[in-house]
């Protein structure tokens, strides 16, 4: 039963109704929160930007990434992103050399500060990108984080 459920989830949006009909997901619940499967399967920064609806992004000094230069434990790397760009709508954290580039994507409604802090896993030393969508345009900042012990072996 478990394998079947995973199969249903794997095929994504089209079969949500089917899943709901089978009583696996109650209607209304899953549909309210969508998940951009394509974006989370991307393997490069350019691909991720595209999957998030952009054609490219411009470097910006108005985006600040707060993270250690060297992370001793790749399983828990604290990363904070703050945007000073007016009308910031979304912040995303991309890790170039992870198996999948996109780590987290945050939607920032009006009234919420364009700031978010979280912790991510990094498999190896990599550039970390903060991608910001502000006023419909795409911007980014980048910071290299050196990892001494990778975070994927756990």
């Amino acid at each position: 039963m478990d394998a079947r459920r995973r199969e249903v989830l794997k095929t994504g949006g089209g079969v949500l109704a089917l899943a709901a009909a089978a009583g696996i997901i109650r209607p209304g619940e899953a549909l309210a929160q969508e998940w951009n499967k394509a974006a989370f399967e991307t393997k490069s920064v350019a691909e991720t930007v595209k999957a998030l609806g952009g054609s490219g992004s411009t470097p910006s000094s108005a985006i600040e990434i707060t993270a250690p230069d060297i992370a001793e434990n790749g399983a828990v790397v604290p990363i904070a992103v703050e945007s000073k760009l007016p009308r910031t709508q979304a912040l995303a954290i991309l890790i170039e050399k992870n198996p999948n580039t996109l780590s987290a994507d945050f939607e920032i409604p009006a009234g919420t500060d364009p700031f978010v802090s979280t912790r991510v896993k990094m498999g190896e030393t990599s550039n970390v990108y903060a991608l910001v969508i502000a006023d419909g345009k795409y911007f980014h900042a980048v910071k290299e984080i050196k990892v001494t012990i990778g975070g994927c072996g756990g």
Partner: protein, 106 residues
């Protein structure tokens, strides 16, 4: 049922500062167990935070968010004594909602 989230919501000036720790394994699906079998992915995909019926933050996550995820952000317009509600939903359809009362703070 997953363990409850630990949520702190404090006023700092006129903003509400929210810090959350969720209990979740955030398994990537890339690891193998001792027998060489792939451990299936199990991770939070959606997080939403609401205040007074309005969404103040929504997130989509991949497998590379750390185990027992931490989240920190700030929003305007909150009042002490009111509640912040947080919900997560994972790739297996498991779901958890917790709430916290906003503390006065400084």
């Amino acid at each position: 049922m997953a363990d409850p989230m630990r949520i702190r919501a404090n006023m700092t000036g006129d903003k509400v500062e929210v810090k959350v720790l969720m209990a979740h394994e955030m398994e990537t699906g890339l690891r193998r167990d001792a027998g060489g079998n792939a451990i299936p992915a199990h991770f939070i995909r959606n997080v939403s935070v609401t205040y007074g019926g309005k969404t103040v933050l929504s997130a989509q996550w991949g497998t590379s968010v750390s185990r027992n995820p931490f989240l920190h952000f700030r929003f305007n317009g909150g009042k002490p004594g009111e509640k912040v509600m947080i919900t997560w939903l994972d790739n297996k359809g498991e779901k958890r909602t917790d709430e916290a009362v906003i503390a006065g703070g400084g």
